[in-house]
């Protein structure tokens, strides 16, 4: 929580205003009993009705002033807390957008999403509560004690004496309850997990006849949760009655000792009545404070998660003196490149060397996990390599401006990212100022025209988040069209045709061939048929190059390639 407090800095003025007005408001509310005691001690005792009315008018005035103060306090605290949330969110989002894939993978997309949305909201809400209650409670408490002491120092010992009891009671219950609260969270997570697994695997569960087993697992989780919840609630059941008991007993004590002091002429009846009210307010503020303490730990877990993200330094950043490439030719050179993912035992790619030239197609083939996609990501500089060099037109890509580098490339990832918006907007994503004609042309090369024209709104069809209203093949074609619209020098296809059937696949590729006569094309593929005509094929096996050449030469020289080809072409398959 405290680590995020620096985001409150710009709101220093507002916070001071909040403190100020909350102070005034608390003081006004506390002052009412004092005036009341005057009514009793002077007005009633002397039977002085005008005096009662006068004091009453003052009380009314104070009430009005108090509500104005508290509305102002609420105004400033609302601005502060929501402003804080806005700023943290803003900083967080811009920060994450600078992450390279390395940092991104480290935390994970799903987790980053919840951290940017839910976690920040959680912290923001706690700050609202803090500004509203947590500030007021101590002020009421301290103000109450001051007024109590000023009324009668001796009697205020009762209040001061009761406070430790209250605090100890709260702490004791919390200490027993808190760990159980955490336990409940883990039991809830467990139940979530069991149920989620059962839902996602419903076909397998049914096919293997394990419904009963799954029922049992859920029941176990359910019972665990219920038992823990009962335990917690039974402990928490003590809290309120005990707090009330302490509160009420101190009131009784005030009456008793107050009576004695009144008898000795040390104080008056009205003072005693005011005193009881002070005691109430002091104790209630402590009780409110204890509620906050329940909220803070939950939010501080959120704050910790936010802080973690903010603390990540992106490994790949745009620098001032980065080189610029005005017009790239598109010669890509890998010079002995080795790369490992952070924390991995073995490198994902080892000693990769090749040159990809404009007008040529370079294909990369290999088994799952052989490092094909990684290689493309290195060209985009999503990760930095530790050994060797990757050169664009003879310049090390690490010395180039990131923006410039990516400007020259069009990359189509394995999973096509479709954004909310029309098809047109999705294609235009790569190039804001794209004419209607170019959009249509890109779509037609990607063989997307046919299915787009079949849609009711054609190019203006609105796609949902993640493109759930399109099939996998349709999404891939839109992603290809998007890349084409960019007219780059280098095209990187990461298994971008996998969801297309063989015929469409062939059509797309032949159309692409025409489009990309001048460009450097690198295609990662699983199917031999996709890459059979490539100018050079790189065969990857467990991160190492086990062959390079065209289809013919590889068939003669590379065993791995031969195996791949035969596995797909001959089909020694199933009996």
């Amino acid at each position: 929580m405290l680590k995020l407090a620096k985001f409150l800095k710009p709101y220093k003025g507002l916070i001071i205003a909040v403190l100020f007005f909350v102070f005034l408001q608390s003081f006004s509310n506390l002052y009412l009993p004092t005036l009341m005691s005057d009514i009793v001690d002077k007005g009633i005792v002397n039977q002085d009705i005008p005096y009662i009315l006068r004091i009453g008018a003052i009380m009314l005035g104070i009430t009005v002033v108090a509500v104005v103060f508290s509305i102002l306090a609420s105004f400033f605290s609302a601005k502060t807390a929501t402003g804080f949330g806005r700023d943290v969110r803003k900083t967080m989002f811009s920060h994450v957008e600078t992450f390279s894939l390395q940092e991104f993978d480290q935390i994970g997309a799903a987790s980053l999403i919840t951290r940017t949305t839910n976690d920040i909201l959680q912290v923001q809400q706690v700050y609202v509560m803090i500004l509203r209650i947590m500030i007021m409670a101590p002020m009421m408490c301290i103000g109450g004690i001051i007024l109590a002491v000023s009324k009668d120092a001796m009697l205020s010992l009762v209040v001061i004496g009761a406070m430790p009891f209250l605090i100890v009671a709260i702490l004791a219950v919390m200490r027993k309850g808190m760990p159980l609260f955490k336990l409940i969270q883990t039991k809830l997570d467990r139940m979530n997990l069991v149920l989620r697994e059962r839902l996602t695997g419903i076909r397998v569960v049914r096919a293997f006849n394990r419904s009963e087993f799954e029922e049992g697992r859920f029941q176990q989780a359910n019972r665990d949760l219920a038992e823990t919840a009962i335990k917690v609630n039974k402990i928490m059941a003590v809290l309120m009655p005990i707090m009330m008991l302490i509160l009420n007993f101190s009131t009784i004590a005030i009456i008793w000792f107050g009576s004695i002091r009144i008898n000795h002429g040390h104080m008056q009846v009205g003072d005693l009545m005011a005193f009881i009210q002070y005691a109430m307010q002091i104790m209630f503020s402590l009780i409110m404070l204890s509620m906050i303490f329940v909220m803070v730990p939950r939010a501080s877990a959120s704050a910790q998660r936010i802080h973690e993200v903010l603390n990540v330094t992106p490994s790949i950043v745009e620098r001032e003196n980065d080189g610029q490439i005005k017009s790239a030719k598109g010669v890509l050179t890998f010079d002995n490149v080795t790369f490992s993912y952070p924390g991995a035992e073995r490198p994902a790619l080892t000693n990769i060397s090749f040159i990809a030239r404009p007008g040529q197609t370079t294909a990369i083939i290999g088994g799952t996990g052989s490092g094909k996609s990684t290689l493309l990501k290195l060209i985009e500089r999503f990760y930095d390599i530790e050994e060797g060099h990757i050169l664009l037109d003879g310049k090390d890509i690490q010395s180039l401006s990131l923006k410039d580098l990516r400007e020259h490339m069009a990359y189509i990832p394995q999973k096509p990212a479709i954004f909310t918006g029309t098809i047109k907007e999705n294609i235009k994503y790569s190039q804001e100022a794209l004419t209607e004609d170019s959009i249509r042309r890109a779509a037609s090369v990607a063989q997307a025209t046919e299915f787009i024209s079949r849609l009711e709104d054609g190019y203006d069809t609105v796609l949902t988040q993640g493109g759930t209203n399109l099939s996998g093949g349709q999404k891939q074609r839109i992603a290809v069209a998007r890349a084409l619209a960019k007219e780059s020098h280098i095209y990187l296809f990461d298994d971008s045709f996998s969801a297309l059937d063989y015929k469409t696949d062939a059509l797309v590729r032949s159309a692409l061939k025409e489009e990309m006569k001048e460009a450097t094309v690198i295609i990662v593929a699983q199917r031999v048929s996709t890459i059979i005509d490539a100018d050079q094929i790189i065969v990857l096996d467990e991160g190492k190059m086990s062959g390079i050449g065209n289809h013919k030469t590889l068939l003669q020289t590379c065993d791995v390639y031969k195996e791949i080809v035969s596995s797909q072409m001959k089909g020694e398959g199933i009996a």
């Binding site: 609202v128 919840a229 048929s529 199933i574």
Partner: protein
């Protein structure tokens, strides 16, 4: 689908438990009365406990309410004694024995009140949790009996949120709000009675503050709801944008869209801030205004009470009691309004859970349902018709005759109905027309469990659960020895990689099973199917995530395994299926071609076209080199 997702998203948002801030809009149930009655039905077994909770609540509240008046008596006595002393009456003084009596009485009352309030909370803890446990358990059973149609049509997040979040809401309400409601009502009534016994005039003043506060608060609440709605809307937009940008991070970076993305975010964030602070401010004002109205009541009690005392109409202690009552009065009224909202939200939650419980179940196994003693694996489809949606025919009049031991491959474009065929065969869905038989017996006459145990299934979607690799493989069958597990793993070519993992077979797969590769996951699911020793094997794109070389290895293993077993293979790669006995080419729900590889090639139809497009691209793609 998209609608459901939105629904789900908004649910994932900040709606955590029914504890709304003041002035927030409330989710309402469609059938409040019916759902409430039903929820109450679940409480029936605990009616005696509930009754004692009610009694305890009433007692503890009544004692609390009684005490201010009694305390007032002490103050009055004190005052009288003091006045007498001041006026110089001889021998006058404060009547300490009387005050002591009252103090002791009060101590007793408070003690008893606290005790009852503890008892009430204590009993309620069990009732609330047990009730929620019962309902969840009912959902648990229900899930087993629901047809696959249910799971396919509902997003997982939606079901999860109903079973977990919505039930938590119900649990919280039962635990806290219910007793609080009783308490508040008793308090309000009790206080009114107590106040009336002291002074009807002053009671009137205090009660007048209620319409006053309603009058002031109503326009505020209305406005606050509007702002909360706007805040919610912007929050949804913001979450959507974040989700989209983060899942598409790679593409955002590749196309240099970071700036636009941040700009859009800032724009939404700014909107959210504007709606947010207003909502926060206005809801923050509600409390002080309640205090304000309460204070006005307080002031008037002081003034009028003071005047009444001087006229001797009431006692000084009565003012004190009145002040305490007035202070306690606004809180429960406030609470009743709040709790009404909470209860509404809870009923809406309960309704969502009951909706699941009301879903139509699978047709029960008939009494005459039989078991197959020694299944062979002959499968026949006779004039089978099926559609997921009423007006979209998918499979029409399908006929199919598979002899025991044959392997059947199904190919065709996406959406042709390949997977549907499997769904029907395993009776995940009921067919509308025709019949499917195994060994001549209609599958609707076979016990579901029995039917499904005939099949071993490997799907493209590799489902593994959090647990050890061993447990995951053993999932296919009850009571298997380690040796059998190892053998199955070996047959699936998974043994080697498993043994290279740090803990071997005891390696725990994490939640997304991200500690092993996609291909390795697939090997595990194959091992699982092998271990199950099925009569009929179904492979639905089973090797699509394994590279083709590994696939060959797996197939070798399978060749051996499949001997004498009927198998259905759905595949994308034609290489996988060339040796199948029968290849079914499906398109738009019908089998358009049928035969073995050779026959189909000779036919020069759809299959041949598909097949040749794999490598003979010479005619479409002219190579320049």
């Amino acid at each position: 689908m998209s609608n459901e997702q939105k629904h789900h998203q908004s649910r994932m948002g900040p709606r955590r438990g029914p504890h709304h801030g003041p002035g927030m809009p409330v989710q309402k149930a469609k059938d409040f009365k019916g759902t409430l009655r039903r929820l109450v039905g679940y409480l029936k077994p605990y009616k005696w406990s509930l009754f004692s909770v009610l009694i305890a609540t009433i007692l503890s509240t009544v004692f609390t309410i009684a005490s201010p008046k009694i305390m007032g008596k002490a103050t009055t006595k004190l005052f009288e004694g003091l006045m007498a002393k001041l006026s110089g009456t001889p021998g006058a003084g404060i009547d300490f024995p009387y005050i002591l009596n009252i103090v002791l009485l009060l101590a007793g009352l408070y003690l008893v009140s606290s005790l009852f309030s503890y008892i009430q909370q204590f009993i309620m803890a069990s009732i609330a949790q047990k009730t929620v446990y019962d309902i969840r358990e009912e959902v648990n059973h229900k899930l087993t009996r629901l047809p696959l149609k249910f799971f396919d049509s509902k997003s997982h997040g939606d079901v999860l949120s109903r079973v977990v979040n919505d039930m938590e809401n119900v649990s919280n309400t039962l635990q806290q709000s219910l007793t609080m409601m009783i308490q508040s009502v008793v308090t309000v009534l009790g206080i009114i009675v107590m106040m009336l016994t002291i002074s009807p005039l002053m009671t009137l003043i205090v009660i007048c503050t209620i319409p006053l506060s309603l009058f002031i608060l109503q326009p505020i609440t209305k406005r606050s709801q509007r702002f909360f709605m706007a805040q919610q809307k912007n929050l949804g937009l913001l979450n959507g944008h974040v989700e989209e940008m983060f899942t598409g991070h790679e593409v955002v970076k590749a196309y240099g869209h970071e700036k636009q993305s941040v700009e859009k975010f800032n724009h939404i964030n700014e909107d959210l801030y504007r709606a947010g602070w207003k909502a926060q401010f206005i809801s923050g004002v509600i409390m002080p205004i309640m205090t304000f109205v309460n204070n006005i009541g307080y002031v008037f009690v002081c003034i009028i009470g003071g005047i009444l005392v001087t006229h001797g109409a009431i006692q000084i202690g009565d003012i004190q009691a009145f002040i305490q009552y007035a202070r306690q009065f606004s809180q429960p009224i406030n609470q009743v309004a709040n709790i009404a909202n909470i209860i509404q939200a809870t009923i809406a939650s309960a309704e969502r859970v009951f909706e699941v419980l009301d879903e139509q179940e699978e047709v029960l196994d008939g009494a005459s349902a039989m078991t197959l003693s020694s299944p062979k694996g002959d499968v026949r489809f006779e004039q089978v018709s099926f559609r997921y949606k009423e007006d979209e025919p998918l499979i029409e009049d399908l006929n199919l005759d598979v002899k025991s031991g044959q392997s059947i491959a199904i190919v065709g474009p996406t959406g042709a109905g390949k997977t549907t065929l499997v769904n029907l065969l395993m009776r995940f869905y009921e067919i509308q027309k025709g019949k499917i038989t195994i060994d001549g017996v209609d599958i609707t006459h076979i016990k579901r469990g029995e039917l499904r145990s005939l099949f071993g299934m490997v799907l493209q979607d590799t489902w593994l659960f959090k647990g050890t690799i061993k447990e995951n493989i053993a999932y296919g069958r009850d009571r298997v020895s380690d040796k059998e597990i190892f053998e199955a793993a070996k047959a699936a070519r998974a043994d080697h990689f498993i043994r290279t993992l740090p803990d071997g077979y005891e390696t725990i797969l994490n939640e997304e099973a991200s500690n092993i590769s996609q291909g390795q996951k697939q090997l595990l699911t194959i091992a699982r199917a092998i271990l199950a020793q099925p009569t009929i094997l179904i492979l639905d794109e089973a090797t699509s995530s394994v590279d083709t070389r590994t696939e060959i290895h797996i197939q070798e293993a399978m060749d051996h395994l499949l001997k004498g077993k009927t198998s259905f293979i759905i595949a994308h790669r034609l290489s996988t299926i060339q040796n199948a006995d029968v290849i079914l080419v499906m398109k738009n729900g019908t089998v358009i071609e049928q035969g073995n590889h050779k026959d189909l090639l000779n036919k020069e139809g759809f299959y041949a076209e598909l097949y040749y497009s794999q490598f003979h691209q010479g005619n479409t793609t002219q190579q320049s080199s």
